[in-house]
């Protein structure tokens, strides 16, 4: 069913050239005249904060988006990428950050998804499929059973399948999008071996990451994007960590906030006692004080989000109890927690945050409709007034409170979601990655808002993987690893290295 005829490509190119590529979405210039060159046999690191334009560039190369203007070439030959198929035929393979596998299929089927070994009648040659997969794994040094079902594998094993799939054959360019985000150090070493192997095969590698230490181990060259624009391009030997960070953020990130010293003496507002859940959480206990910002740090898969959801009643706890407002709960749901003055802001704004069929006002008031009620009827005037107030307070860019939420930019949607909880009386707020997907300028704004709220007496559970957010705000830091709390630190008495060590544990 592969459409059209295969384009025969001369894989012997020296450079993949990206020339003046631009792409805009309604309201956003995602890529603005970006040019770069990726050499065959070299690892080219692409860096940038969230929203810098990395994913857009990847998707254009993969044929998932079409570019507005500009050219993509192998040396002097223009590539005509109209769809994912074209891109694959040129040998451009992408390892996506989010797992994109068919979970009902075997490992081998997933690896050869775009090119099943068949006879001329289209009948699958299972022996060849498994043998080829076996061979491939031997070659790259992965240890996986080709017949295992994807759904039965761990995340890092799935990631390995992703990588193996991209490189299995005909690869001329391999793009890796945050490939190490869920790998163990041991697995990362293996991945680097694979990458070196690819280099020797004269494959061009675009390595997208935000982990700076990695690029000094593996990359030959680094390009930095910021706000859709090309900022810098340097050989790895000509640059250093500070320079790269400076290019990425455009300024030194060093906002540390003044926090009250005696906050841990304030009264306890929440006592979490040995809770466990089906989703990872094992035997977690902590106290939260009035006005305290309690930071939770952990690598991907450590269980931060799962803990937040268990505390909020989204996932059922299987063991333990939570005490809020002098009530002890063993079994509760989200409405229990909301009624106790707790709010939750998700990291997955699109998936779990906004209600796309509703306008800004309705999104904002969703958890608090009771306070706008006259008898059983919602007083829309009152509701609109509250919405307008927060639109003004957070300078949300919108013509009115009646605008459909999906027509707002990501940052503005986030402001609406924060307001969702602030319009009601709140004692505790749970923030999951509050600065994810927020552009650099707004980041500091968000952090200082959190600080202000805490100073007014709101207690904050801050789940984050951003070291900067964590260190600049938290009064206490709990580091999570594998669903458990591995270590507790206090403000000002901890280094990044110590936190990182505790999280790898």
């Amino acid at each position: 069913m592969v459409s059209g005829k295969k384009i025969v490509v001369d894989i012997n190119f020296k450079e993949l050239k990206i020339e003046s590529v631009s792409k805009s979405f309604p309201g956003v210039q995602a890529l603005d005249n970006v040019s770069m060159k990726i050499s065959a046999g070299k690892v080219h690191a692409l860096m940038g904060e969230n929203g810098a334009g990395k994913s857009t560039l990847i998707k254009i190369l993969a044929g998932a988006y079409s570019k507005d203007t500009g050219n993509i070439l192998f040396d002097e030959n223009k590539l005509n990428i109209r769809n994912p198929n074209d891109s694959l035929n040129y040998g451009i393979k992408v390892v996506y950050q989010e797992i994109s596998l068919i979970s009902e299929f075997s490992v081998a089927e997933n690896i050869f998804l775009d090119n099943f070994p068949t006879n001329s009648l289209g009948v699958m040659n299972w022996n060849k499929l498994y043998k080829d997969t076996e061979e491939l794994f031997n070659r790259v040094g992965f240890n996986l059973n080709p017949k295992s079902k994807i759904a039965d594998l761990s995340i890092s094993q799935q990631q390995m399948v992703e990588i193996a799939r991209a490189v299995f054959k005909n690869a001329s360019v391999v793009i890796m999008d945050e490939p190490t985000s869920s790998l163990t150090p041991n697995e990362i070493e293996k991945l680097f071996t694979v990458i070196k192997n690819l280099k020797q095969n004269n494959i061009a590698i675009l390595y997208v990451t935000h982990k700076i230490d990695e690029i000094f181990k593996i990359a030959d060259e680094v390009t930095v994007l910021r706000d859709g624009q090309h900022i810098s391009n340097k050989l790895i030997s000509e640059t250093n960590e500070e320079l790269i960070i400076k290019d990425m953020v455009g300024r030194t990130v060093n906002a540390t906030f003044e926090r009250p010293k005696d906050i841990l003496n304030a009264k306890t507002v929440m006592k979490v006692n040995k809770i466990s859940s089906k989703n990872k959480i094992k035997n977690v206990s902590f106290d939260l004080h009035e006005g305290e910002i309690l930071g939770f740090f952990g690598l991907m898969g450590a269980g931060r989000t799962e803990l937040a959801k268990a505390v909020f009643g989204y996932d059922k706890i299987t063991d333990g109890q939570i005490e809020v407002n002098n009530n002890i709960y063993k079994s509760f749901n989200t409405s229990t927690m909301v009624n106790n003055g707790i709010g939750y802001i998700t990291e997955d704004r699109k998936g779990e945050g906004i209600v796309k069929d509703m306008n800004l006002r309705e999104n904002m008031s969703l958890p608090s409709l009771k306070i706008f009620e006259d008898l059983f009827i919602i007083n829309q005037k009152k509701e609109k007034k509250a919405a307008d107030e927060y639109i003004k307070k957070f300078s949300v860019k919108t013509p009115s409170s009646e605008r459909l939420i999906t027509l707002l930019s990501g940052g503005n949607q986030q402001k609406v979601l924060v307001s969702r909880w602030l319009i009601r009386e709140l004692k505790i707020i749970i923030l999951d990655e509050p600065t994810r997907g927020v552009d650099i300028g707004a980041k500091t704004e968000v952090l200082s808002l959190i600080n202000d709220l805490a100073k007014q007496g709101l207690s904050v559970l801050l789940m984050t993987s951003e070291m900067n957010d964590l260190l600049s705000l938290s009064d206490r830091i709990l580091v999570m690893a594998d669903g458990k709390i591995s270590k507790e630190f206090y403000r000002g008495k901890v280094t990044q290295e110590e936190i990182f060590k505790a999280s790898v544990n």
Partner: protein
């Protein structure tokens, strides 16, 4: 036996056991139940649902749905019987019937896949349109088969060597072909991939629209074969033929573990689902239990089977 069991996956094994239990209960309750004659009768009857259920499962696996198959059953039997009556040629009637089926599949598929209207709505509309067209054409009367060809009669009523109904053989052959296609051809695997995760399939370079369109055509095509067998059995193109047929098929297929969400399930499972519901209906009939209890029992079984499956998955 061991080999057979190995082929059945976990969920299918559970179903198979349900089937055996039902079978054993009825064998003890009615002496006629476990006779060759009865078993052959059941197998002939169930092939009508089985064949349509195969096509329906293929479409569900590809992530779409077609609830117009009941109306289609009545609709395509019109060209079948009319052409046979007019030309006196059975093959010509059958060919035209199948062509009509394919065209309807193409229309359903085109509207759903290429124009982007949800397939549930397209085929709900088609359900009305086809049934209305049948009523209009027939004036709400059955059109009898006036040709009375032996060949046509045998399709639904004849028995190979006097024992095995031809209909059952047709059903079995189609089942085996499609089990093979879905399991062992790249086309089948691609349908699973498209239904399982459309975005991944798109990035793998599949022509999703064409794949889905083909699944719509398979579904309509196989339903048309069911229509031919049905028309042969009842000896006419009946305006109320296939009433509630879509619901029977959905029930059997879902009972067999094919997911409405797409990408999950197998034809073996679907076939066992058909088998269970047909055997229950036959057994209850033999026990002289009001035939209407069958509906109740079917409904309860579906809730229990699907509910149990969900509970297990959430554990």
């Amino acid at each position: 036996m061991n080999n057979i069991l190995k082929y059945l996956r976990k969920g299918e094994l559970a179903l198979f056991i349900i089937f055996l239990i039902v079978f054993i209960i009825f064998s003890f309750s009615s002496e006629y139940f476990f006779t060759l004659r009865n078993i052959m009768n059941v197998s002939g009857q169930l092939s009508i649902i089985l064949i349509a259920a195969i096509g329906f499962s293929v479409l569900l696996i590809a992530g779409e749905v077609d609830i117009s198959i009941g109306s289609l059953l009545a609709f395509v039997s019109l060209p079948l019987i009319e052409i046979m009556n007019i030309t006196g040629s059975v093959p010509l009637g059958i060919i035209l019937c199948l062509i009509f089926g394919i065209i309807i599949g193409l229309i359903n598929g085109y509207l759903s896949v290429y124009l982007g209207v949800s397939s549930l709505i397209v085929t709900l509309g088609m359900l009305f349109i086809l049934r209305g067209a049948v009523y209009l054409y027939t004036g709400q009367r059955a059109i009898p088969d006036e040709l009375m060809s032996d060949f046509f009669f045998y399709i639904g009523n004849g028995k190979f060597m006097g024992t095995i109904p031809y209909a059952a053989i047709i059903g079995l052959v189609i089942l085996l072909i499609f089990i093979f296609v879905m399991r062992n051809t790249s086309y089948g695997r691609k349908l699973y991939a498209v239904g399982g995760n459309q975005e991944v399939a798109r990035l793998a370079g599949y022509n999703i629209k064409l794949l889905k369109l083909s699944a719509f055509v398979i579904c309509s095509f196989l339903s048309s074969i069911s229509a031919i067998i049905l028309a042969s059995r009842i000896g006419s193109a009946n305006h109320v033929a296939g009433d509630l047929f879509e619901f029977q098929v959905v029930a059997a297929v879902v009972l067999g573990g094919v997911s409405l969400a797409g990408g999950i399930g197998s034809l073996t499972g679907a076939a066992i689902g058909v088998l269970i519901l047909s055997v229950i209906s036959n057994g209850l009939g033999l026990l002289n239990i009001d035939t209407q209890w069958q509906l109740v029992v079917n409904g309860v079984i579906i809730i229990i089977a699907v509910g149990f499956d969900e509970l297990k998955r959430n554990r």
